[in-house]
Symmetry: C2
Subunit: 121 residues, 2 copies
């Protein structure tokens, strides 16, 4: 892979999907086979129903999940990842790997007190 100038633009479309609150956690849940609205809502607690709907709609629009309605009372709806949706997995795997390798060194806000001095050459 080349990290040349053309790269950023090409990757931007995926950012529209990932760059919103809850989205990545939501995708994790879908990967884990949690496909119903209420189930997702519980696992992502305290997400609001509006936000969850918004996210699922975006994934639907982008062709990453399908929405299947099983009529009846009570209502039953399932969200399934498409091939493109499942194809996101390596990205998450890479995030997971990074976290294991470097996550421990991540400074937290609570560490801010001990400001690092800037380097001066």
């Amino acid at each position: 892979m080349e990290m040349d100038q053309s790269c950023p633009g090409k990757v931007e479309p995926i950012l529209e999907i990932l760059d919103s609150k809850w989205m990545i956690l939501l995708l994790f849940e879908l990967f884990n086979g949690n496909r119903r609205f209420g189930e997702l809502r519980r696992r992502l607690h305290p997400i609001s129903p509006k936000t969850l709907t918004d996210r699922l709609r975006l994934l639907e629009e982008k062709g990453l999940v399908t929405r299947t309605l099983y009529p009846g009372v009570p209502l039953h709806v399932e969200y399934d990842l498409t091939a493109a949706g499942k194809g996101l997995q390596p990205i998450f795997a890479a995030m997971w790997t990074w976290t294991q390798e470097y996550g421990a060194y991540l400074r937290k806000d609570s560490d801010k007190a001990e400001e690092e001095g800037e380097k001066v050459m």
Copy 2:
């Protein structure tokens, strides 16, 4: 890699970094060896100086870049990726791969007109 329940929480720290406007494009620029403030600003045009500063400060706080000041007039500052920063590359590589494989199928907003009917079982 297991996509079990514990996964999402562990990956969240990295989201604090990536989930803000410009951040991913900024990291691309840093990967490409563009390390000076003005240079980054031009390449990320029309980013505002305030926003660029905010992003660089966050990366600094999290230990992903170092800031080096070369005194003199005119001022000269360089931002360099740390090992942890460079370690993010596989994540971007995975995004790049996904884009090549599935990006073409991504629906754009302009396609919304041709609404897909929902599946009903």
